[in-house]
Symmetry: C2
Subunit: 155 residues, 2 copies
């Protein structure tokens, strides 16, 4: 299993979110070569302000001791926002693999400043899914990142 394989799993989560009518972003957490948590954005599905894909995957992983996260790699289809970046920093996750950051540039600089290894795959399928959603449901997308409808997306 390599980065592309795990990103495909994160993308499958994103597609699940899309099929549910939600924000199509997915995430998996991998430890010792195995997926230990998977999730997707559930803002619409759960009427949630906090269940971004990364948060949903962390929640799916359950309560763990701090040491657990030191061997985890987080795969997310889209560059992580400030909230998800903060969760990555809280848990001390050492490596983050990002499907794409053209649709939205998150807090990759902050992650790198704090010593997190960040890789961006520039994945065509992640980008296509996200950009179709942004064109179809701009208000939902802006709500998800707390932007005004007419403001540029960068947070």
């Amino acid at each position: 299993m390599n980065d592309s394989t795990f990103m495909a799993e994160a993308l499958a989560e994103a597609r699940r979110g899309h099929d549910e009518g939600g924000v199509p972003i997915g995430c998996v957490l991998v430890r010792d070569g195995e997926i230990v948590g998977a999730g997707h954005n559930r803002r619409v599905q759960r009427d949630s302000a906090i269940l971004h894909a990364e948060m949903d995957a962390l929640e799916a992983t359950g309560r763990q001791p701090g040491a657990f996260y030191r061997d985890v790699t987080l795969y997310t289809t889209l560059s992580p926002c400030a909230m998800c970046t903060g969760a990555i920093l809280l848990y001390g996750i050492p490596r983050v693999v990002i499907g794409e950051h053209e649709s939205f540039m998150g807090e990759e600089d902050l992650l790198a400043e704090r010593g997190v290894q960040v890789s961006v795959l520039n994945d065509h399928d992640c980008r296509t899914l996200m950009q179709r959603f942004m064109a179809d449901k701009p208000s939902l997308w802006h709500e998800d990142i707390a932007e005004q409808d007419d403001a540029p997306a960068s947070r």
Copy 2:
């Protein structure tokens, strides 16, 4: 209603968490002089990796447009960790009032760097509740902030 009054409400939330056997940290979100969301840490109660007090209060507030948060003040009994700080930044909450930061120093510098107004009340009751908990249940506290049991608390 002033800062002390709202902090008393956050502290009441923290005490609820304590009475439930959880991590005793509470939070309220205030907008136009009214509490629009309240919550407390539910790591134990919900077997949750993400329901810190601030996240629980954001979730209780429900889905809102981005503009909603621009008039919100967040009151939390303890200095916010990286995850909750990230959520504050995502939602563009302009002001954070902190009960105390002696028991744990969170990401106040990052909040200030990003233009969030941070006030620390040095509240005796918030500190007493927290320090009693940290002495009684050190492993639970360390799990909550993803520290090793023998590591110093600072994140």
